[in-house]
């Protein structure tokens, strides 16, 4: 009898946990995020903290820096006016969608490719950058292209779609998913895998920082990056699309591309100008 009592308590507490998660105070889907942002004069962006050139926390002053950061600042100014403030919250590939869904951030600008799987969970703005997936290897590696990865180990990051993509080109590849790019790179260096795969801009940043490693071969996919917003936020999405067009039209976009990708070896910045 006593055992049943324990079991009952256990089940009750599990149910309680489910219920508490289930009902928040005011559903996010009924709020207008754009209006909230205008009221607070602040737009909160989820950005990367570990990706050189796109979004990287500078250890000297603790500020995020990169193309996406500058782009987010420019878009915020277009949407909220000159005095609009952009607030940055650092996210990972894994945490960005949950953080968006629970309302911690208003929009995701964190090297996120627009794809069908994610569209089921969130909405996307128009693309703001066209990347492509590639592989990073040690100099002199026998891996020349992605197809060579069959029966080899390839390192990716949890929550990014690059891991599934590799499986399409090299079905027999063994995949290790690590927590973030910094850890993935160290794992590659310590020989846990033969190649590291993700988008070419991210790999380019790693190759710049780590002599002896290079981006191998051409990009084998196209990865249009989009800004992620919650479902049921048409106003914010429209405002973002309009702001992206304006930033492209007034030349800010190309200026930022040149600033960040102007001298990355092996990466032709003219291909991504708009």
């Amino acid at each position: 009898m006593k055992k049943f009592k324990y079991l009952a308590i256990l089940i009750m507490s599990l149910l309680l946990a489910v219920v508490t998660v289930g009902c928040g105070s005011k559903p996010l889907s009924q709020q207008d995020v754009l209006q909230n942002a205008k009221d607070a004069n602040t737009l909160t962006w989820g950005v990367k903290a570990d990706t050189k050139l796109m979004g990287l926390i500078d250890v000297n002053d603790g500020q995020p820096k990169g193309f996406e950061i500058d782009m987010a600042k420019a878009l915020t100014k277009k949407i909220l006016g000159k005095n609009g403030k952009a607030k940055f919250v650092t996210v990972t590939s894994q945490s960005r969608i949950p953080l968006l869904k629970n309302g911690n951030i208003d929009a995701i600008m964190a090297t996120m490719t627009i794809n069908a799987e994610r569209k089921k969970a969130i909405d996307f703005s128009d693309s703001y950058f066209d990347a492509g997936q590639a592989i990073l290897v040690k100099d002199g590696s026998p891996v020349k292209k992605v197809q060579d990865l069959n029966n080899k180990t390839v390192i990716g990051v949890v929550g990014s779609n690059s891991v599934q993509n590799v499986k399409k080109y090299a079905p027999k590849a063994k995949v290790l998913q690590l927590q973030d790019y910094a850890q993935a790179l160290v794992a590659l260096k310590s020989g846990q895998g033969d190649a590291l795969t993700t988008d070419n801009v991210i790999l380019g940043g790693m190759a710049v920082e780590n002599p002896g490693y290079r981006v191998q071969g051409k990009a084998f996919t196209t990865e249009p990056y989009g800004i992620g917003v919650n479902k049921g936020q048409p106003h914010l999405r429209k405002a973002l699309n309009k702001a992206i067009k304006e930033v492209e039209a007034d030349g800010t976009y190309n200026k930022l591309i040149k600033k960040w990708f102007g001298d990355v070896p092996g990466f032709n910045y003219r291909e991504v100008l708009r």
């Binding site: 946990a17 894994q94 949950p98 994610r118 969970a121």
Partner: protein
């Protein structure tokens, strides 16, 4: 939640299997190493006592994640190539054994010194007295805290996820990031951990009743 479980049951089970395997290996190994270190800490020999104390104080006071990352990232660079699962299990063993050593030591200390003296007076060697008289009584005393350590060990095995050790947490992360069903995935992962830890809880309680 049912559909999630149905679609990914093989992935969950794979993770479940690796978690159990890692926990079992770490449990046996850390109990062995921990007991040896506990004895080292109380023997009259000064060198052994220093080894025991240094071992416990170092590994008890470093975060588990740091130990595991060391074995995953540093050891392969300079010594020998080991994969995430091995690195994680080694780290888990070392970390838990330090706590088990402290637990067992407290058990040994709780046994009246007269037991040891009487055994020695009967002509037993120190090792014999330890093995046949003191340790059996000490283990009885420390069954409840040992159970705690075992449960902690199972839960701590989730660090394998950080070094791609294919365990429950690793598979859970992968599934959550593919399906975005974050809440449901982690609820299932939590339930799987309960499947391992609850029986341990009950068994330790049973053991406690029977022996003590």
């Amino acid at each position: 939640m049912i559909t999630l479980l149905r679609t990914y049951w093989s992935t969950f089970l794979t993770g479940f299997g690796w978690t159990i395997l890692s926990s079992c290996i770490a449990l046996v190994a850390s109990l062995l190493i921990g007991s040896i270190m506990a004895v080292f800490e109380v023997v009259p020999n000064k060198t052994l006592r220093t080894i025991g104390t240094v071992y416990v104080e170092i590994f008890r006071n470093i975060p588990l994640l740091v130990i595991v990352s060391f074995f995953y990232l540093v050891i392969p660079m300079y010594v020998v190539k080991i994969n995430g699962f091995t690195a994680g299990t080694i780290g888990l063993t070392i970390y838990t054994s330090a706590f088990i050593a402290e637990t067992v030591r407290s058990g040994i200390k709780s046994i009246n010194i007269g037991q040891m003296e009487a055994s020695r007076a009967m002509g037993m060697k120190y090792v014999q007295a330890m093995r046949f008289i003191v340790l059996p009584q000490a283990f009885k005393v420390v069954i409840p805290p040992l159970g705690n350590q075992f449960i902690n060990l199972v839960k701590n095995s989730s660090v394998l996820a950080f070094v791609a050790g294919f365990d429950l947490m690793y598979q859970g992360n992968a599934i959550a990031s593919q399906t975005f069903a974050t809440v449901n995935t982690y609820l299932i992962v939590g339930a799987f951990y309960l499947v391992i830890t609850l029986p341990i809880s009950y068994y330790m309680r049973h053991l406690e009743k029977r022996l003590a």
